[in-house]
């Protein structure tokens, strides 16, 4: 399969069908593995890295899940192509910086992606839409079991799977869910939630800008520890916590609707207005406004048909996705105007937010033919 098949079709998880998919964008599990008799990639000599790569790559390609895979050496991808894969979470930023001696293999559905010679010899991940950590773990566990039959993994009876960074030793597993929490942010409860989650050994991350506001109100919740707990237990604990976060977010939304409907409508209305009429927009602003559009759709201020286009914009307005259609690299201001253009085009047919019973409808626009009453 060629690179353009990957670049021109969005992965299954981006199309968003999955349990609790209004609040949970995606579930992801990654496993780190290393071969027994070689130095870790960061310390191995180039000659060794190539040998490791040639030992692993054919085995990965032979997995039944990879029967229609896209498999490529890192040096054969352009910087832009790598960036698109980063934006889709199919490779890490660290992997995007690699050249000769590394590779990535991913399935057609873009649900399974295996990096070779990233920080560890193998970084394998599965990603699906919505909250389905257990399924996602099963997917990657199956691939791992098939590979361990062919490859000799570095394993220590007491420490488990050995990894380049001691933070991953043990299961080598990092499980995470990306959650969209606009109401918890708006009602200023997000810090309490983050602190509560931190206390039980899970990490919450967003891009922290001013105050505690995260980019696009998107947060990633993941396990922090990998040693001393079974994979299934880690997954179950994370799943439970995510379910609680969903409940908190839903409660916060109801509270806002009842207690602060004007604040809520103001954010949604401004998001709609600016997105539809701006001529220049950076990716941070776009994500933050799209987040309120998404919230507006969840709360039925916009018809359900609006969901898919808005979800797509979250990805399409990212810098590399923006530029994959253009022939040359764009300067920041050119990207900002192209971004605004794409958003305007996509939202062109969107109706105004239907505020229904929660707010009196805005006064009808004055009709050109009749004279005004004052």
């Amino acid at each position: 399969m060629a690179i353009h098949n990957i670049l021109n079709t969005s992965g299954e998880w981006l199309r968003g069908e999955g349990p609790h998919n209004q609040i949970v964008v995606s579930s992801r599990v990654r496993l780190a593995r290393n071969l027994k008799n070689f130095a870790f990639p960061g310390w191995a000599k180039k000659h060794d890295r190539l040998q490791i790569l040639e030992a692993i790559k054919p085995q990965v390609e032979a997995l039944p899940e990879m029967s229609d895979a896209f498999s490529v050496y890192s040096q054969d991808l352009s910087a832009l192509e790598k960036q698109v894969l980063v934006e889709r979470h199919l490779i890490s930023r660290e992997h995007a910086a690699k050249g000769v001696g590394s590779a990535v293999v991913m399935n057609r559905k873009q649900t399974l992606s295996i990096m070779i010679n990233e920080e560890d010899h193998l970084r394998m991940q599965a990603i699906r839409a919505g909250l389905q950590l257990k399924n996602v773990f099963k997917m990657i566990d199956k691939a791992d079991s098939a590979l361990e039959d062919k490859l000799d993994f570095a394993f220590h009876p007491q420490l488990g799977y050995l990894t380049a960074c001691p933070t991953n030793v043990g299961t080598g597993m990092r499980a995470s869910a990306m959650v969209h929490l606009p109401a918890l942010v708006l009602s200023e409860q997000i810090n309490q939630v983050i602190q509560a989650v931190n206390k039980i050994g899970l990490a919450v991350r967003g891009l922290y800008g001013e105050g505690t506001e995260a980019l696009g109100n998107l947060f990633q919740v993941s396990n922090q520890t990998t040693l001393g707990e079974k994979e299934d237990d880690i997954i179950a604990r994370l799943h439970k916590v995510i379910e609680q976060i969903i409940e908190h977010e839903q409660n916060a939304r109801q509270m806002l609707l009842q207690k602060k409907p004007k604040t809520l409508l103001d954010h949604i209305g401004r998001g709609y207005g600016i997105l539809r009429h701006a001529y220049s927009m950076n990716s941070k602003e776009a994500l933050n406004l799209l987040s309120f559009m998404k919230l507006g759709i969840d709360l039925s201020f916009f018809p359900e048909e609006c969901r898919q286009p808005v979800d797509e914009l979250f990805m399409e307005t990212q810098p590399a996705h923006l530029q994959k259609g253009t022939q040359q690299k764009l300067a920041a201001d050119e990207r900002d105007s192209l971004r605004a253009e794409i958003i305007r085009a996509k939202l062109a047919g969107f109706p105004r937010p239907d505020v229904g019973a929660s707010e009196p409808p805005p006064p009808p626009p004055s009709n050109g033919g009749t004279s005004s009453q004052n």
Binding site: N34, R93, E94, G160, L218, G228, E229
Partner: protein, 160 residues
């Protein structure tokens, strides 16, 4: 203030993360912050970076100057990168790592998945150990008939 990663450029990106009630700070220059993906809110790189740097710092306090016999990796290299050199490093630096891992993780013993092949050999090892213990016991009790049977079973396991 210089960047914690490259140690050369001026740090312009300052990050704080609270994990388990412990605050971790890291200072980065523009270039390293991009390379390490700290601007990617959903990436795993930030956690790895923060934990790695903290880890190296703690191990340094443990002292020791040895090099890994397999890959030549040293404590100083760990401090620089926050990563180890090879699987043997876990044995070489076991003392320093023990307290580090204890502070970092939920437990000190792996209880999760074991590769099927290793599981078989671990199983055999423990069987062998039990048989050898039984053998010693039989010999000390001068029960040579049992000892002979046990010896045969050990031989059988060894040639498997």
């Amino acid at each position: 203030m210089n960047c914690d990663v490259c140690k050369t450029n001026q740090a312009t990106v300052f990050l704080t993360q609270i994990v388990d009630g412990k605050m971790q700070k890291v200072n980065l220059c523009e270039g390293c912050s991009k390379e390490k993906g700290v601007t990617d809110p959903t990436g795993f790189a930030l956690a790895d970076l923060l934990l790695g740097l903290g880890a190296a710092h703690e191990m340094e306090r443990g002292g020791g100057v040895q090099k890994c016999p397999t890959c030549g990796f040293s404590q100083a290299d760990f401090k620089k990168t926050g990563r180890l050199g090879c699987a043997t490093c876990y044995t070489t630096f076991a003392d320093g790592l023990a307290s580090l891992l204890k502070g970092m993780h939920k437990g000190t013993e792996h209880v999760g998945k074991v590769p099927a092949r290793q599981a078989r050999s671990l199983e055999r090892e423990s069987q062998l150990k039990n048989l050898q213990r039984d053998l010693r016991k039989a010999v000390s009790e001068e029960d040579y008939e049992s000892a002979a049977t046990i010896r045969d079973r050990i031989r059988h396991l060894d040639t498997e």
